[in-house]
Amino acid sequence: GDFDDAELDDYPFSCYSQLEVDGSQHLLTCTFDDPDVNSTNLEFEICGALLDVKCLTFNKLREMYFIKTKKFLLIGDSEICVKLKEKKITCRKMNVVKIVKPEAPFDIRVIYREGANDFLVTFNTSHLQKKYVKELLHEVAYREEKHENDWMHVNLSSTKLALLQRKLQPDAMYEIKVRSIPNPDYFEGFWSEWSPSFHFRTPEITGRMD
């Protein structure tokens, strides 16, 4: 055939799903692990655990393959294959509910509460309105901007957090961001992208926050 066995393994790929990403439409995205793979004529197909159909073929956008559909059964395994001229050259068994990558949180803000000596961090997530992947864990990361790699992390499941003033440097510029992952129960998966960062300056010992 076109490929001998050794080459068949040279097409490792990864996929993630985003449920109810557009109304009740779900999104499944796959990419080759090796960005230098020559993907001309290569196609992706998913079969099994689908509603009404046996298989669905992916669309291609540059190096990314994706399907937007309502037809995920959300129960049981599917088989995702790379095909070359209708010939399956490599396949992986995957369960759409176990490879969920949440949408990134957004609207992160920080409010200084002088009386409380803390900074109230709030952010938003589209998953609060969803039916399926409602339970998320969030990771807030913040750092003093002049210490580039000195990130501090807080894990939480709510969308509100108080950072204690006594734990931050006075009169310093901080950057803060947040990301989410499914709270592993029925739905599992990967970390979302980071939210856009928010920047804030802590007050001098006695003054007000800018």
């Binding site: 655990a49 059964l73 959300l74 129960i75 049981g76 509910v97 039916k131 399926y132 129960d185 029925y186």
Partner: protein
Amino acid sequence: YNFTDCDFEKIRKKYQEVIYHALDKYMNGRKSTGFNNHIYCEDPPDCLTKIDRITFYPNHGCTSLAKEIFAVRTNAALTLQCPGYSGMQMNNTQAKTKRKKREATTNKCREQVSRLMELWRRFSR
């Protein structure tokens, strides 16, 4: 089929996370307690037996729920978690209607689905 050996906890999780939303969507926000013909199930195997019967076999003026999304999901869950369960057997009438679009939701079918929701609720408690 005797549902005694099923993995009830895994079926419950699939019901709670996935099947329930499809049932709720089928009822389209209508209260499932609006009907007055109640159905009782004693324990998980008994509940699944009645769920299987109402979901996959025509009854009381509702010819077929088997093609509905909640039914396809129920079938997938039972096939995965009940050893030896051979899944939705398309009987002749269903096979003939297989290519037909899903039937309009009739009140008779809504009544059957409200009984299904009761059985699932009872099963999950």
